[in-house]
Amino acid sequence: MADIIQLTILGLALGGVFALMGSGLSLVFGVMRVVNLAHPALIIAGAYATYWGWRLLGVDPVLMMPFSAALLAVVGIVIYKVFFEKDAASAKYSDLTVLMAFAVAMIVEGALGGMFTNTQRVTSPSYATEAIFIGEIFIPKGQLIAGIISMTIIGSLGLFLKFSRTGYAIRATTQNREAAELLGVNLRFIALLSFAIGIALAGCAGSLVSFVFNFFPAKHWEWIAIMMSLVVLGGMGSILGTVVGALLLSVLASYVGAAAGATWSTMVFFVALFLVLLVRPQGLFGDKSELAS
């Protein structure tokens, strides 16, 4: 029993981090219908920003988060301006955007490799190596902190989307671009803002990831598949769905990992991706009609 509880807690903590990693991707997809394959590479960029702040200046990774978010938001704005802006006012982003995003992922990976080599890095603030014991249950403090901070950020994002004027505009654009525009939403501005927020979230995730995983520039390939499975399971563009998908799959992966070994635990994400596409392509919270459009 204690095993199950422990595995669940570990799965939830990691799932929280995955949820944060996927939420920016989901936000961008919802508003722009662009599958930003560069998202995980940008998370790694955030992890590097955090790493150097911690390594050179001794700043705690969590405290590096606002800086990483701001830096990545700026990077996001530049990427948006260069690659996506020209399509922003048209009914649909061109089919080339996936390839462009792929190119951005390669560029980011190449740049990080060029600057920082391919050595594996990790930040190790004291909490990253500590653990909490509750009876027989053992919880690594780093993962717990990362999970809690992730869920706090996602919760704030949810409140922002639900209640603020800009949040209304973002949700409206996600659900019906044309109608949003007709009610006075400036689609270009909303696309730019959503992209910037989405990539800033990648920056936040990068800071947390820096002490949860070892990372190196090419690590993002592993995450793309994981994140795609979360986003697809939740229903493309549904942030709530992404969060639920992340928690569900991570807990499952945690059980499978314990039962069958770590290599099998990542398989959970890939099998889920495959099954969802096969059985319920609109995902848990998605809408069938959206697939058609």
Binding site: Y168, A169, R171, A172, L182, G184
Partner: protein, 242 residues
Amino acid sequence: MTALLEVTNLTAGYGDGPAILSGAGVDVQPGKVHCIIGPNGAGKSTLLKAICGMLKIREGEVRFKGEKLNGLRPDQILRKGICFVPQERALFPKMTVLENLRMGGFMLTDDTVVNSRVDEILDRFPILRERATQLAGTMSGGQQQTLAMARTLIIKPDVVMLDEPSLGLAPKIVQEMFDIMRVMADEGITILLVEQNALMGLKHADWGVVLDLGRTLFEGPAQEILTDPRIQELYLGGKKAA
């Protein structure tokens, strides 16, 4: 009387595609209901989209209160007081009725104004108050159309353009939509209506416009169009109309 909205000789199309409209126009008089009729694919929806800034105008002019609107974005044209309810899919299906109404007031920056106007609308349309927390996408077709039309009232527009508000609705419900439109007109809102059911549309209109192949063939008092033998023959399904 000078026209409130003057659309002259429009040429427009989608993206770089062929011109769908060429020589489309309409004179919109303040406070009147105008009905655009024409066969499927005539360009009726395209004309409304061109007026509200969703399509680039290649030639011709849209003037509103004497001011040229060519080249403005939809949000800018909305701010001038022209509101467009598109054919189908006008709502945000996963927002509640209340959120849809609030979204209708997006361009008003003062939240207290939005709230009080949303409240007025809920008073006027009890069905919407009853359904306030229901997701818009789960309502019946008639309720959704009611919401889409009622939502325009929040910004107190000068002109409301309705694209086939009767589409897919039962006859009894269609009548309700025309009643709502009538109430809007009686409040002084100028209406530009596109109707597939030409007879129905013209009966509820003051002014009729016949559009075919992207151009305006004829415009005149709705009564006159209803009784014009040539138009009856071509667009009103023969003698039945009389």
